[in-house]
Amino acid sequence: MRNKANPSVLFLYGLFLTILAFALRKIEPLIFSALLNMSIGLILGFKRFRFLIAAFLLSLVGVAVNAIIFAGGEPIYQLGPLIIRSKAITGFIEVSLRLALMLSATLIFSSLTNPRDLLRSLESELGLPKQVSFTVSLSLRLLRIFEADIREVQAVRKSRGLRTIPLTPSGWSSFLSPLLSIGLERGRWIGIAAELRGFSLRKSKKTCLKLGLLDFLIFTLILVQIIVFLMF
C-alpha cells in the first residue's frame, strides 16, 4: 500500500476546499473547515511556505480596511471619525476564514506532492489534458522559486532606499511589477523548453486511481466536512 498521498486525491481535496471557501454560506461549518484545514496546512507547510502565510496575514489588513469602509449594520464602536459597524466584524471574520481555507488548500497540496508525480497522476489517473496537468504541476515548482524572487526584490528595494514591505498601492505596484515580469518570462521559457523536450509528443496511459491509507484519510476529511455542512 502507498505511504504517500495520491497527487490526484490531493488535487481533488484542494479543489473541494476551494469550492467550500466560495460556497459555504453559514459561519459555523466555515469556522470548522477553516480551523481544521489551517491546522493541517500549518503543520505541513509552515516551514516551507512562510511567505504565503505572511502574504495571507498582510491580506487580512486589506480585508479589515475593506470591511470598515464598506460594511453596514449598527454602529458598535466609534474612534474619532471611524465608525465600526456590526457587519464589519462578521464580514471580516467570514472573508478571513474563506481566505484561510484557500491558503490551507495550497499548503496541504503543495507540501504533500511534487510536480512530476502530480503531472503523471493528473494525466493518467484523472484523465486531465496534458496541457492542464503540466500547468498545474508547474505552478508547484514556480511557487517555490517565487519565494527566492520575493527575497531578491526586497533586497534591491532596501538597497534603493524603499520599504521592503510597501504600504501604499503604488508601492505594491512597484513591488509586484518585477515579480510579474520575471514570472511571465520564466513561464514563457519553461513552456518553450518543455516543447523542445517533446512535450507535445507526450502520451499518457489511463490507469486506475491507486489509493493508500493517506488517501482514505483525505476522503474521511471530505466526508466529515460534508456532514458538518449538512448539520448546519
Partner: protein
C-alpha cells in the same frame, strides 16, 4: 568515402516577431553532420531568434513568422507536423537554467524528457546520465539546493539523455565560473568526438574557438560566416585608476555568516579592505559566497559575527537614506532592480535620492535612454536593461556600487563600454566592487582582486587571479591533446 548528411540547412529570407519588423534577413547556412558552429553577435542581434526560427518555435509557438526554408536533417520544423518531430532530433540548453528546469528534482527533470518521448527503460537511463554528469548523489535533491554549475550540468543531462543528433547550447558558459565552464567545454568536446552536430552561441568566444568548425556572426539582421567579431580588448583600452591608499571605504574583519541556525557557514572569517576609487573584483567558484559577501557589504545581510564598516559606519545601523548614500547593490538579474513603470520615472526616483536635478541629468544620458523614456524598463532588451541599472546606480550617487556578475549576458562591445564606464566612475570617486568570475574583468578593469575559497577571503595578485581563472579551461584543451 561516405558522404556526410546535412544536419542543418537554412535559407531564411525574413524572420521576426511582427510582420514588417524582421529581426533576421537573408540568413543562409549549411551545417554538415558532426560540425561545431560557434555563433556570435552583439546583445540583441538576433542569436536567440535564430535558434527559435530554426527549431520552429518562432512561427509555431510565439506567433512570429519565418519566410524561407529550414531543414533539420530531413525534417521541416516550420510545418506543424515537422515541429512535433523536432524534439527527437535535438537537445537544447537555454542560457538560464532558471528558464529551463520544470521539475523539482534532477531525476524528475531527466525523466520528464524521457517520458515525453516515450523512451523505454527511462528510470535506468535517467540514473545513468545523472551519474555521468556527476549528479547521482543529488538525484532526488531539491533542484533549488544545487549550485549554478550543477544546474547547468542538469540542463545538459536532460537535453542529451534521449541521444539527439543536434545540440543547441545558448550561452552555455554564462553565469558559470571557469571550473563550470571547463566542464561544459569537456561535454561539448565529447559530443564532437561522438560525431554529433553542435551549435553554440557565446559572448565569450575564446572558450570554443579551438573546437569550432565554423564561426558565424549575426550582425545587422544577417548572418555572416567565418568573420572575426568585436574589437580586441587590450589593457591599454582601460587606464587603471591607481589611487593613493588613504581613505578606506569598505572594511571587513573576521566576518562570519550563515543563512540559518542549522545551515553551514558561508563565510568563515572574511576580511578585506577597499580604498575609495579602487576597482575591486571578488572572484570564486559558483556558490563560494560572492553574492553573500556583496550583500553584507551592501547592508542587506547582517553577519553573525565580525566587523563591517562602510565609510566608517556599520551598514545595518544606518537609516535607509544614509545607507544608500554609502552603498548600492546591483543584482545580476536587471528585472529585480526596477521599481517604476517607465524609464523616466526610474531616473526621476534615482535623481531625487541622488539630489540631482532631472534636467541636468538628462544632458548626461546616453541617447538611446532618451528615446526610451516613456517605455517600461521591463520591455527593454537585456543589454539595455543592464545598462539602465548601471546608469541608475550611478545617479543615486552612492560611494560604493556592488555589482553582481555585471558582465554576464553583455556582448564584448558592451563589456568594453562597461569597463570604460567603470574607469570614469572610479575617477569620480566611486568605488565599484565587482562580484565576478569573468576573467576579462580582471584583465581589463580590476585594480585589486580578492578570492573566496571555502568561506575565507584573501587578496590575490591580479596576474595570479587571471591564471587561476584561466587554468580550468586551458587544462581542458591540454587533456584533449594528451
Amino acid at each position: 568515402m561516405e558522404k556526410l548528411r546535412k544536419a542543418l540547412q537554412v535559407d531564411i529570407r525574413e524572420a521576426g516577431y511582427k510582420l514588417e519588423k524582421p529581426v533576421l534577413k537573408d540568413v543562409r547556412l549549411v551545417l554538415e553532420e558532426g560540425e561545431v558552429l560557434l555563433l556570435l553577435g552583439p546583445t540583441g542581434s538576433g542569436k536567440s531568434t535564430f535558434i527559435l526560427a530554426i527549431t520552429g518555435i518562432l512561427n509555431n509557438l510565439l506567433y512570429g513568422y519565418v519566410k524561407g526554408f529550414v531543414r533539420l536533417f530531413d525534417v521541416n520544423p516550420l510545418e506543424p507536423e515537422g515541429f512535433r518531430r523536432i524534439p527527437r532530433y535535438i537537445g537544447v540548453v537555454l542560457q538560464s537554467h532558471e528558464l529551463q528546469i520544470a521539475m523539482q528534482t534532477p531525476l524528475d527533470e531527466v525523466l520528464f524528457t524521457l517520458e515525453n518521448l516515450s523512451i523505454e527503460n527511462a528510470f535506468e537511463k535517467a540514473r545513468k546520465v545523472l551519474e555521468k554528469y556527476g549528479l547521482s548523489e543529488k538525484a532526488e535533491a531539491d533542484v533549488e539546493t544545487l549550485s549554478g554549475g550543477e544546474k547547468k550540468r542538469l540542463c545538459l543531462a536532460s537535453s542529451v539523455v534521449h541521444e539527439p543528433e543536434l545540440f543547441i547550447l545558448d550561452e552555455p558558459t554564462a553565469n558559470l565560473d571557469p571550473w563550470g565552464a571547463s566542464e561544459v567545454l569537456k561535454y561539448v568536446l565529447e559530443l564532437k568526438r561522438k560525431g554529433k552536430t553542435v551549435i553554440v552561441t557565446e559572448h565569450k568566444p575564446r572558450y570554443f574557438l579551438k573546437i569550432a568548425d565554423k564561426i558565424a556572426v549575426i550582425e545587422n539582421h544577417t548572418l555572416k560566416l567565418g568573420l572575426k567579431y568585436g574589437k580586441e580588448l587590450t589593457p591599454c583600452t582601460i587606464m587603471r585608476a591607481k589611487r593613493e591608499r588613504e581613505s578606506k571605504i569598505v572594511y571587513l574583519k573576521n566576518v562570519k555568516f550563515k543563512y540559518c541556525e542549522e545551515c553551514p557557514l558561508v563565510l568563515e572569517g572574511a576580511s578585506m579592505d577597499v580604498y575609495e576609487g579602487e576597482i575591486v573584483a571578488v572572484v570564486g567558484p559558483n556558490g563560494s559566497g560572492k553574492t553573500t559577501l556583496g550583500k553584507i557589504v551592501s547592508g542587506l545581510l547582517k553577519p553573525i559575527s565580525g566587523e563591517v564598516k562602510i565609510a566608517g559606519a556599520a551598514p545595518w545601523r544606518l537609516k535607509p537614506k544614509e545607507l544608500l548614500k554609502r552603498v548600492i547593490y546591483v543584482p545580476q538579474e536587471p528585472n529585480y532592480f526596477f521599481v517604476k513603470g517607465t524609464v523616466e520615472k526610474e531616473l526621476k526616483l534615482a535623481a531625487r535620492y541622488g539630489e540631482l536635478k532631472f534636467g541636468k541629468l538628462i544632458e548626461s544620458l546616453d541617447p538611446w535612454i532618451l528615446d526610451k523614456m516613456d517605455e517600461s524598463p521591463y520591455k527593454l532588451s537585456y543589454g539595455q536593461k543592464k545598462w539602465l541599472t548601471y546608469t541608475l546606480a550611478k545617479v543615486y550617487g552612492s560611494r560604493v556600487i556592488v555589482f553582481d556578475e555585471p558582465t554576464a549576458g553583455l556582448d564584448p562591445v558592451l563589456t568594453d563600454k562597461f569597463f570604460t564606464w567603470l574607469k570614469e566612475a572610479s575617477r569620480d570617486g566611486i568605488t565599484p566592487i565587482l562580484l565576478t568570475h569573468d576573467v576579462r574583468v580582471l584583465e581589463y578593469a580590476a585594480d585589486r582582486v580578492f578570492i573566496i575559497e571555502e568561506g575565507v577571503v584573501r587578496e590575490i595578485g591580479v596576474r595570479d587571479s587571471i591564471k587561476v581563472l584561466k587554468k580550468p579551461v586551458e587544462e581542458c584543451f591540454y587533456e584533449k591533446q594528451s
